[in-house]
Amino acid sequence: MPSLTLLLQSVLSGLFLGGLYGLLGLGLSLTWGMLRLINLTYFALAFLGAYLTYQLATVFRVDPLLTLLLIIPGFFLLGVLLQEAFVRAGVNEFISLIVTFGLTLIIEAVIQWIWTADFRRLESGYGAISFRIGKLFVPLPELLAFLIAAAVSFLTWAWLKWTYVGKAMRATAEDPQIAAAFGVNHRRLALLISGLGAAYAGIAGAFIALIYTLAPSQVYAWIGVVFAAVIIGGLGNPLGLLAAGILIGVSEAVTMAVTAPGWAPLVSFTLLILVLLLRPERI
């Protein structure tokens, strides 16, 4: 049995990681819940964002966090274009899973083409900064990622709950035809959602670059865990997703501390299977 300090340290890093799960899954959760499209492309976009951050920071010496100023609008536009293409091609819920998997394959291959399959590590000033709370070690990039993820999740939740656009969005998710009869422009909302999803993916990507060593094949490593969080959290529910992300992150970290690191995927996928079997009506 690991020591209490190690266990607490695991919980803390699981918490931070869980925030990132939530942020990465936000686009998927919104498009699935609101537009009934399962968009895997966000995972590939997140890594594209991560590699762009890496490129800008190492080659052009841009501060990694400032790259967000470029990435957020750029990815928003990308998301809008993607949605427009989906509409024109007549992509529906089921084939969206396959079409976006095809796109993910392509983007991942392009990343590998440009940056090769070698591991890349972004060396920035942030990586070295950390502080201690009691015996616990708190790295700044992880903490920052968690705070931003929590803030974004909360803002998105508040936006959906209280603004006109958010309400229109939820009405459309419930019943597109009735919402349209009340003057909701579904097409434009869909563009907005898809754009936001891509922008979230970009932000998540920047933090992935800041925290992790990058390799193109890792695109797939995140898909299963984030899917689990998205489904457990409830589709289109940013705060539920954040909570589910944290739940999974913490249980993974504790599993790793108690057994071996290799067992971590078992937790999230077992959770996913259980939710699918026991609570399929959530989706």
Binding site: L97, I98, I106, A109, V110, G262, P265, L266
Partner: protein, 583 residues
């Protein structure tokens, strides 16, 4: 409809023999391994199709079963020193066992279809690979099979692997062929079209899916076992790869995933394309191509290359056939069943059914007598359709008793109830859109109480199409029918199982007065043949015209039961329909 001049088993043997002698031509070794890869993918894509193409349950976990086969062979051959050939059947069986285990749980959850089933199988892949990676089965570094000897009976190792690959591909494709033409295959197609309808028509959906899943996994495991010896070095990442599932799906869709031969065509084409464009070398370009083809095929060619060809052929044949309609002559009309008029056929006693807080049926007691037409009426939401769904087995009842001809229905699955001789129509017609009008009706005859074989079922189906006046539409797809014709199709399908009890859910709604008169005439004829009818309807004139007795439901309670004209005058009934002021 037969184009087969050569019997299929002979054709399979000929193709097999022809391909088996290829290695003896002394072609370059590259060619042999290229063909082996084609066989491997033909087997994998076809095995995927047996479950996913036929039933519509998309599995994203084919890599898991393939990987299970790979590691079964690797473990048995390397750690336990089994002879290689012996490991193959075990690889297949173990994979099948996994599949059946997963299916036994997953297929019980009604909502777990489409993308959710796909996600479940995806998750299973990761779970399985994590276990293999972290236990002694692999442990991380991978397993070498280079020391595992291959049997010498077939000559060189390359030749042996080639022949085994050919054999596995042939058996898999032959199975897909046999299923395609069997009753079971027909049932699987019905599941793909509309699973609830299939079950109500008498298809044992749960068992059918489970066996299809098991067989699909068996062949994937078998192919995996063989592939382990081709690779000689296996790793978890390559074995339990998502890409295995994706490639199988892609090839199957590319060729046409609803036809037994489609996946083989797709596997041949895709393997050739990938080899000739990239020489099998550049993994990056390979993935870009796979991604691009995947997108293009699913958006622009959902029926697949070969599927489209088959459809064209079928359409042309249908056009030729409809130019000279020749409904087969059925020697005699089926005899009307000797009814025992007046005895109770269906008995509902205190039947209860609630949806969350809503009590849809609150202690409903009623009897349906053999040979009568019972009108079941009541305002919207009074529980009429729920009652039909309970009797036909779609919903389990919460309490009370339900018996049909002395048989307790409460614990029976819907397909068993259908086999007893209960059939129903849907208010909104639900034809299986992939099957012709004729086959839609034949389906009911195949899975009803009589379980006719396919040709007999078709002959019976013709009779019911003539009876309902749809004969000239027999070879059309249901999509080309108007509402009236769809309603008639519902009726023909319900009749084709030759039920003792027919539940009609608002067959008249949406029809014009002339169409309605025709339909009423049909229903009278049905009763005269000995079938008991429960007639749910809102059209009062039809109720008064047609029924022998009427039961009125309101808020899940029976509020009246008696002769039509008497019942309709009761104050309670008038109040339920028109409000208090008119009572």
């Amino acid at each position: 409809m037969t184009m087969r001049r050569v019997p299929a088993p002979v054709l399979f043997l000929l193709v097999g023999a022809g391909l088996a002698v290829v290695p003896s031509f002394g072609l370059p070794a590259f060619f042999e391994s290229f063909l082996y890869i084609c066989f491997l993918w033909a087997a994998l894509a076809t095995s995927w199709t047996i479950l996913s193409g036929y039933t519509g349950y998309f599995s994203f976990g084919h890599g898991a079963f393939f990987g299970a086969g790979i590691y079964t062979t690797a473990t048995l051959a390397v750690s336990f020193g089994w002879p290689f050939l012996w490991t193959l059947p075990v690889a297949g069986l173990l994979a099948a066992l996994f599949g059946v285990g997963i299916g036994a749980v997953a297929f019980r959850v009604r909502r777990l279809r489409g993308e959710l089933f796909a996600l479940l199988t995806l998750a299973v892949t990761f779970v399985l690979s994590t276990i293999v990676l972290n236990t002694k089965i692999d442990g991380g570094p991978g397993v070498f099979l280079s020391a595992v000897p291959l049997p010498k009976t077939f000559g060189s190792p390359v030749g042996t692997i080639y022949l085994l690959g050919l054999a596995i591909a042939l058996v898999t494709v032959w199975s897909a062929y046999a299923i395609y033409h069997s009753r079971w295959g027909m049932g699987l197609f019905a599941i793909r079209g509309d699973e609830d309808v299939a079950e109500v028509l008498g298809v044992p959906t749960y068992r059918y899916k489970l066996v299809a899943f098991g067989l699909s996994c068996f062949f994937a495991g078998l192919a995996g076992g063989l592939h382990a010896s081709f690779l000689t070095y296996v790793t978890v990442a390559e074995s339990f790869s998502l890409l295995v599932a994706m490639d199988a799906i892609l090839m199957s869709m590319f060729g046409g995933m609803t036809h037994w031969f489609g996946p083989s065509v797709g596997a041949g084409l895709m393997t050739t394309i990938l080899y000739s464009l990239t020489g099998g070398g550049s993994a990056i370009l390979n993935r870009i191509l796979i991604g691009a083809i995947l997108i293009v095929v699913i958006i622009f060619l959902p029926e697949g290359v070969f599927g489209r060809f088959v459809h064209r052929l079928a359409r042309r044949r249908a056009r030729r056939a409809s130019a000279q309609p020749s409904p087969p002559v059925l020697t005699q009309d089926a005899p009307a069943r000797p009814a025992n008029p007046g005895t109770s056929l269906l008995v509902c006693a205190d039947v209860r059914k609630a949806f969350r807080g809503l009590q849809a049926l609150a202690r409903v007691s009623l009897e349906v007598h053999e040979g009568e037409i019972l009108g079941l009426v009541g305002p919207n939401g009074s529980g009429k359709s729920t009652l039909i769904n309970v009797v036909s087995g779609y919903y389990r009842l919460d309490g009370g008793r339900l018996s049909f001809a002395g048989q307790n229905l409460a614990a029976l699955e819907a397909h068993r109830i259908a086999r007893l001789g209960v059939s129903r129509t849907y208010q909104i017609p639900r034809p299986v859109k992939w099957l012709s009008v004729l086959d839609n009706v034949a389906l009911a005859a195949m899975f009803g109480p009589h379980t006719y074989d396919r040709p007999t079922a078709r002959a019976h189906a013709w009779r019911w199409l003539v009876f309902t006046g749809l004969a000239d539409k027999a070879l059309a797809l249901p999509g080309s029918l108007n509402l009236h014709q769809r309603k008639l199709l519902e009726l023909a399908r319900a009749l084709a199982s030759e039920p003792r009890l027919l539940l009609l859910d608002e067959v008249l709604s949406g029809l014009t007065p002339t169409e309605m008169a025709g339909a009423l005439q049909l229903i009278r004829q049905i009763r005269d043949r000995g079938t008991t009818v429960v007639f749910v309807e809102h059209v009062m004139r039809a109720i008064l015209d047609l029924t022998d007795r009427v039961v009125v439901l309101n808020y899940g309670h029976v509020i009246a039961d008696g002769a039509p004209r008497d019942v309709m005058r009761q104050p309670d009934v008038v109040k339920a329909y028109l409000g208090k002021a008119y009572a």
